[in-house]
Symmetry: C2
Subunit: 440 residues, 2 copies
């Protein structure tokens, strides 16, 4: 489909990777923008002949591709980046992260932390965040202020926090946030029950019903550690995936985040029901959760998206790292260097994430009619040359600091490596304030 | 020991990580340089009082540490960066890398490729390369022109190449190169028999003798793949490490590169004989070689250094990536998030590499009398704040593009992220020439 609006600008890079099915890198082509959308991807001479005089961003040494979709994060946790590292999971959570959250995770913390996450994300070529954290209305405010595209989690967890008192309160607040923002073009919503070990059956039942009624994706930590599985067997007499299956959770709406520990039949089941698995390789390694069976999931036909997790367990929101690591780990765990080639890692970080969020009709590839969520990566730095294959370079050689331009909905948010809307110095001084408080 | 020379300059950063045994990050301190050496590391007020008027590089948001030691690379292969990816090892070697080398790996190729590797390395905070490639005299020339510190491999391999005709020819050329350059302060030398599957017993015997006579380290690929081990069992009736043990190779001089596939008794043996294991995590994953048992090697007391391998199997010469990945993999393979903490990864990338090369009396830590091989990493970028612990940040959050300053032997080679001696545009145009030839 060609959008019938008036073209407004051209982007003319060295290479275009559209991430449309079966398309290889295009050379000597241009992306034609029409307001917030992509009107066409055309050979450059044709684009210039059709649209003479249109403003053109020439990017002669760059690869242009869809913006990256970070399909699992806790954005505000950037303020706890590196607060506690090299610790076993439960000591990390119980002695450091949870106490810090009890004291500090207020509405203001979430607003500032999410803004920091957005700054980092935009500079690193991420144009959509799938977030799960407390005070999602503050994350929504940060997204609206900065221009970020964001899927906001309607979080629910069994225990009280500074944000909400009980499951009903969590859901009420989250649904009210959705009602307030459901017409904001760059915001979307997920139900975000935290995890099988923090959510009861009655709450899960209510979430399943809401997902159906409101047609929302479900964002859920699942099978992250062996301990989670053992606890479920002890408490519920079955593994979490079986419990969720009984509760009617398996389906195309489900984003199973982490999914590190899976039986063969669970892989088949995720595939059969059309679930998404969200792979967070850095976090899985750093917290010693293990190696997710991504090769097997892909072979079974599961939609695999990519996420960074929060900055407290990564410690960056860097989708270039996740792409590289996902490709590397799939090769080493399967013993096959051809497993998860660069192109597949790029798809995981773009169109597969969009599909998970139910947004693949709007973002995830550079195709006519889709939102102009576009990034440019300069492949001409002296530590990146020579470049024989741009897809391989984007995954194996380039990094987030090579992102030069970012557009969301056609709006330039990063230009020549600089944030356009965000005031970095103001943000840094607010972060410094939190640093002082949390370090005390 | 305090060097008794005249102080020439101060470096005054936010944090200093000396990598001296047991030292934590120092704040409000300065490094005092005296020509090519470190004279002292002192509290800043004391340094200023002792040396008023000395030129001072103030780095208020930076961590300063010893330059990184890349203990295994094939520098010139930067020209084949991304030439062939996502392929099984033997197809990669036989269909792509070896044919490209047969046609293109000339003296000129090695000079340009090594210069490119040096540019990338310096910008990424690497101040010492342990190289193994053909035409090492060209690598030596590149090092001398650029100011790089380099351990040059006296390579020997059983089959003829464009560089040499037979093992004796390889050794003669390499030893002549060493004679020519043995008084160059920034060059050192290793014997570099390629691998057990490409070197015969008589050649190994000659190498062992030379190592003893000339007191040189031995740089050798070892136990990289299961196939290598099976081939050795078939051909020699034993695994490569046992074969080398019989040939008298095990000892503090041996750098066993990769060492992915090890039996428990082989780990004990490497520890007992004081060998170094050079861990190349990116390469091991990308080529699907496997997961080296680094946790077990460290527990056994083996000196573990870090390397990038060549850019054709990585695809970067980025020691920040290797540190992060080494820490991550050790955690995930042992199931212990406390395994290989950030400080240990920093030691692997500095003092442990220096020890492997027999250079730990000269480089690898910031201590009085040692060479001033120093890097500064700016931890103030908006995607790095807040910073609670600089060691953790250097490994988990920062990257090569955050390196702002590099000194080798006291000489500034990178200043504010720019190469001082090297002409980037000239180099890029030479690289472009090779790109055209190799892509044809």
């Amino acid at each position: 489909m060609a959008a019938m609006t008036t073209p407004t600008a051209l982007i003319a890079p060295r290479w275009i990777l559209t991430m449309a099915d079966g398309a290889g890198p295009l050379e000597n082509h241009a992306v034609v923008l029409a307001g917030d959308r992509i009107q066409a991807v055309l050979p450059l001479p044709e684009a210039q002949a059709l649209h003479p005089g249109l403003p053109c961003t020439a990017l002669p040494t760059h690869a242009v591709m869809p913006g990256l979709v970070n399909t699992h994060t806790h954005a505000a946790m950037t303020l706890m980046r590196g607060l506690a590292d090299d610790l076993p999971l439960m000591r990390w959570l119980e002695d450091h992260i949870w106490p810090a959250e009890r004291t500090h995770a207020t509405a203001e913390f979430v607003k500032d932390g999410t803004t920091l996450a957005i700054a980092e994300s935009l500079l690193g070529g991420v144009t959509c965040l799938n977030d799960m954290y407390f005070f999602p209305e503050e994350a929504a405010a940060a997204a609206l202020e900065t221009g970020m595209r964001m899927a906001l989690g309607i979080i629910v967890i069994e225990f009280p926090t500074r944000y909400a008192s009980d499951p009903q309160d969590y859901l009420d607040r989250g649904l009210a946030m959705r009602d307030r923002h459901k017409h904001d073009a760059r915001l979307s919503f997920c139900l975000a029950p935290h995890a099988p070990y923090t959510v009861s059956d009655p709450t899960f039942e209510r979430v399943a019903m809401l997902a159906e009624q409101l047609d929302l994706p479900i964002h859920l930590h699942l099978h992250e550690t062996e301990a989670e599985i053992q606890q479920s067997v002890a408490q519920y007499g079955c593994r979490p995936i079986e419990r969720l299956s009984r509760l009617g959770f398996l389906g195309p709406r489900l984003m199973a985040v982490h999914a590190v520990h899976l039986l063969e039949e669970e892989i088949r089941s995720l595939a059969h029901f059309g679930c998404t698995m969200v792979h967070c390789p850095s976090s899985n390694l750093k917290l010693a959760s293990g190696f997710a069976p991504v090769g097997e999931l892909l072979a079974a036909g599961v939609n695999v998206a990519l996420g960074t997790d929060g900055a407290a367990s990564n410690n960056r929101l860097d989708m270039f790292e996740e792409m590289r690591l996902a490709a590397f780990l799939a090769k080493a765990t399967t013993g096959d260097a051809a497993a998860l080639p660069a192109e597949a890692a790029l798809r995981m970080a773009t169109i597969c994430g969009a599909r998970a969020l139910g947004l693949d009709d709007r973002i995830g590839s550079l195709e006519p009619g889709k939102q102009a969520d576009i990034i440019a990566v300069d492949l001409d730095a002296i530590d990146l040359v020579p470049c024989y294959h741009p897809a391989s370079h984007l995954v194996y050689a380039a990094g987030r600091r090579d992102v030069s331009h970012v557009w969301i909905g056609g709006e330039p948010l990063v230009r020549n490596g600089e944030l356009v809307r965000l005031h970095v110095d103001q943000l840094r001084s607010r972060v410094q304030g939190w640093h002082t408080q949390l370090f005390a």
